[in-house]
């Protein structure tokens, strides 16, 4: 039998104004197990807590009920109080007689009656409480960052600078991501390469950072502090440790007609290639789909010319097993495919391009060496039309596009328009928009400069059709403000394509049991208060994998994710939530019902030997809950057909006792 103390708080007049606290304390005195009952103005105050501590010691209490405000407010406080007096903190129950009683009822007798019932339910529950001890698990002091764009780079640098080891897994041959493809960045017009490449070099040279380039995450097992990750290092047919990045192999490779993905297929590269001059690691990669030696066994030129002897045509994919304490997802974004948008003639005309292609066209390292030339005939375009919101902010039933705003398009379109007018003042630049959204530091000023200083024509209205006619493009659009249909001709049409999460994100989310929204963006643990944590413990989010983001936002989120990772890795041991599921092995029949509903993969099965009365042994399959992974939702307890699964702290008998107390 428990020895329970009941402590009724007045909360000044917040509770005492509607609830007769003395009557409540008196009524609960006669409940089973209650040996002590008191009331006080402010239980959460030092004096109130001392009252509880003294009572625990004096009356040898084994459990306490505090009738006060919401447990969401002060449960932790009173648990600490109990612990300070030597009582297990999980022997504390709160009856919420403020938020859910005194504040919502006006009548004193009604409020008092309800408070007594809520108190009785809490007493009934605490009678069945058992002391709980949180489990501990060790922490592997190393982090994994998946994705080597600016988000991954910044996160890795911040974690490594704090003294922890970081591995970056990047599926491309180099880190750098989308930012490496950009020309200038808004709103300051810094050159993207100038601010990114020093960071890439820092990552490459950092003694705490390892880069697995041209690699992918193959499998993830384990839980917070103890992830086991399998990384597939794809064969690049070049020994990384020997390659000096001199580029001799690239210049000698006879296979010249490979679409260059770094320039979005607007020019060609060789079958052996280094994506761009500042690549990190600066190591050549052979594209097996195009290499004659790998396809037909004829060629071998690169091996002949490589003075370092780094070429290895026999290289195979390699699987690497590593342990990590935390995982940061930084898989980033991609512009959506324009294939479904026939109205913009993207596939009919070479002169209809996406904004990222425009970015490459204006980049000094791009296919035109930074000169803005039409892809079709290499002429300088005199009239350029920018179309915003292509595939963004679409109707929910329109399957072509996305419902959300891609957030970065307004600003980069203003940047493109401004830079075009700056470099080529004779060019006529028109932007079609639905709304111009520029909520960021110095963003609106930037957009207004495009309009006022650089004379970019902004027309509110959507483009309905782009049709190639001769060497021109005819743009049909509506002008909502003038309330008319307009038709203008253009030499180049630039589509601000919506952005979507990288395709690798969905399978990765499944591996990590991290949740995603309907658009395949990773969900954060709390949209406001925990924006860089995934609901899955130990998994953190950085950059556009969580939602569309510009560079400043990505970098700040990357730093935030890093600080959360550092906070986790700085601990030697993790204390878990003790309110986790556990299976009664005598009742469990190993049916897997619980495993199927568990969102965290916390339940596994093992064969256990049971000693039978006749001294034989019987091997049975039983469910085992990993308390470090279990988050305590209790879904499995309901799925369990034999009633073997129960949840500590919210046990079946405890909830039933509460129901009984309320329905008495």
């Amino acid at each position: 039998m428990q020895r329970i103390g009941v402590f009724v708080c007045w909360c000044g007049s917040n509770i005492a104004g509607t609830v007769d606290v003395v009557a409540v304390a008196e009524a609960l005195k006669s409940e089973p197990g209650v040996v002590f009952s008191a009331n006080y103005q402010y239980m959460c105050s030092q004096a109130g807590q001392d009252l509880i501590k003294d009572a625990i010691k004096e009356h040898n209490l084994t459990g306490i009920v505090v009738c006060s405000c919401s447990p969401r407010m002060h449960e932790a406080t009173f648990r600490k109080t109990a612990a300070a007096a030597g009582l297990n903190p999980y022997m504390v129950e709160i009856a919420n007689i403020r938020e859910q009683c005194s504040w919502v009822h006006k009548d004193m007798p009604v409020g008092t009656e309800k408070a007594i019932i809520l108190g009785k339910a809490a007493v009934a529950k605490v009678n069945l409480n058992t002391p709980l001890v949180p489990g501990e698990s060790p922490v592997t002091k190393r982090a994994l960052v998946i994705g080597g764009g600016i988000a991954g780079i910044q996160t890795a640098l911040d974690i490594a600078d704090a003294g922890f080891e970081v591995d970056i897994v990047e599926k491309q041959p180099t880190i750098g991501g989308k930012m490496a493809q950009l020309d200038k960045t808004f709103p300051t017009l810094d050159c993207a390469a100038c601010i990114l490449t020093p960071k890439m070099v820092d990552v490459g040279q950092h003694e705490k950072i390892r880069i697995f380039s041209y690699s992918e995450v193959e499998a993830v097992k384990g839980f917070v502090g103890n992830f086991d990750v399998t990384i597939k290092k794809k064969a690049r047919y070049v020994k990384e440790e020997l390659c000096t990045g001199c580029g001799d192999c690239v210049s000698k490779c006879p296979m010249k007609k490979v679409p260059n993905e770094f320039n979005l297929g607007m020019d060609n590269r060789k079958a052996i290639y280094i994506p761009f001059a500042q690549a990190v690691p600066k190591v050549a990669t052979i594209d097996a789909d195009y290499c004659n030696m790998l396809k037909n066994g004829k060629c071998g030129v690169c091996a002949k010319f490589c003075q370092a002897g780094a070429i290895d045509y026999t290289q195979k994919d390699e699987l690497i097993e590593e342990k990590y304490g935390a995982i940061v997802v930084a898989t980033g974004y991609n512009p959506i495919s324009m294939d479904k948008f026939d109205e913009f003639a993207y596939n009919q005309s070479k002169d209809v391009i996406t904004s990222l292609e425009f970015e490459r066209l204006t980049n000094a390292a791009g296919p035109t060496a930074g000169k803005l030339l039409r892809p079709s005939d290499g002429k300088h375009p005199e009239k350029i039309v920018f179309v915003q919101c292509v595939g963004s902010r679409c109707d929910a039933c329109n399957e072509k596009g996305k419902e959300y705003c891609s957030k970065i398009c307004c600003m980069y379109t203003a940047k493109h328009a401004m830079l075009t007018r700056d470099k080529y003042p004779d060019t006529d630049v028109t932007v079609f928009y639905i709304d111009v959204r520029t909520p960021g530091k110095n963003f609106d000023e930037f957009y207004r400069r495009a309009v006022e200083e650089f004379g970019v024509h902004y027309i509110k209205g959507m483009v309905g059709k782009v049709s190639p006619e001769g060497d021109k493009l005819i743009v049909q659009a509506s002008d909502i403000i003038a309330n008319k249909q307009i038709k203008i001709d253009a030499d180049l049409v630039v589509l601000a394509a919506a952005i979507e999460p990288d395709k690798s994100a969905r399978p990765l989310a499944t591996m990590l049991t991290a949740s995603m929204d309907t658009n395949d963006f990773f969900t954060e643990a709390h949209p406001k208060l925990r924006p860089v944590e995934s609901p899955t413990a130990g998994v953190f989010l950085s950059g556009a994998c969580q939602g569309p983001k510009d560079i400043p936002e990505t970098v700040s989120q990357a730093g935030a994710a890093a600080s959360k990772v550092i906070g986790l890795l700085a601990k030697d041991k993790l204390t878990g939530n003790p309110c986790v599921a556990h299976s009664n092995e005598m009742m469990c029949n190993g049916c897997s019902s619980c495993e199927r509903v568990c969102p965290y993969g916390a339940i596994t099965y093992e064969d256990k030997e049971f000693r039978m009365p006749d001294r034989t042994t019987l091997v049975r399959r039983i469910a085992v809950v990993n308390p470090a992974v279990c988050q305590g939702c209790g879904c499995c307890t309901v799925a369990c057909p034999s009633g073997a699964m129960d949840l500590k702290g919210f046990a079946n008998n405890q909830i039933i006792a509460e129901v009984d107390a309320i329905c008495k």
Partner: protein, 144 residues
């Protein structure tokens, strides 16, 4: 003889992360709802075993309501989807047993929806009160 005014007894299971917080917000905003509504805190709406609902009716509850996070917002990713399916089954069976549909409900209330919580409880209590006492599953042995 004086007839005591009939007040329904309503058990509300609220998930810790959304609906219980929503109920707290209703309190913070001093939004009234009937005192007959008694809240039991569970970690997730999927923790509510159909057994608990049956137990409540057996012990004389007139209505049982489950509140959880909105679909897609579950703190535990998918718990409320299980709740939705399990309770659809249970409520349909209860309906067959004569426990009217209006006596049972699953409602999504977020932590930000204090007003919705109060409105839901007012509406639910009103509907249950209109049906009168629930005797179908009540076990008289439980009443001394």
């Amino acid at each position: 003889m004086q007839v005591k005014e009939y007040k329904p007894l309503i058990v509300a299971f609220c998930c810790n992360w959304c609906s219980y917080a929503g109920a707290d917000l209703a309190g913070n905003n001093r939004l009234n709802y009937p005192a007959e509504v008694k809240i039991i805190r569970v970690p997730c709406s999927c923790r509510v075993n159909p057994m608990f609902v049956l137990r409540a009716f057996q012990r004389g509850a007139d209505g049982v309501i489950l509140c959880g996070c909105h679909p897609g917002d579950c703190h535990y990713t998918s718990g409320n989807y299980y709740t939705r399916r399990r309770m659809a089954m249970l409520f349909s069976m209860l309906d067959y047993l004569g426990i009217e549909r209006e006596r049972t409900r699953v409602e999504w209330v977020s932590a930000a929806e204090g007003a919705k919580f109060a409105a839901t409880m007012n509406d639910f209590a009103e509907k249950v009160a209109a049906l009168g006492e629930n005797k179908r599953l009540e076990d008289l042995r439980c009443k001394k």
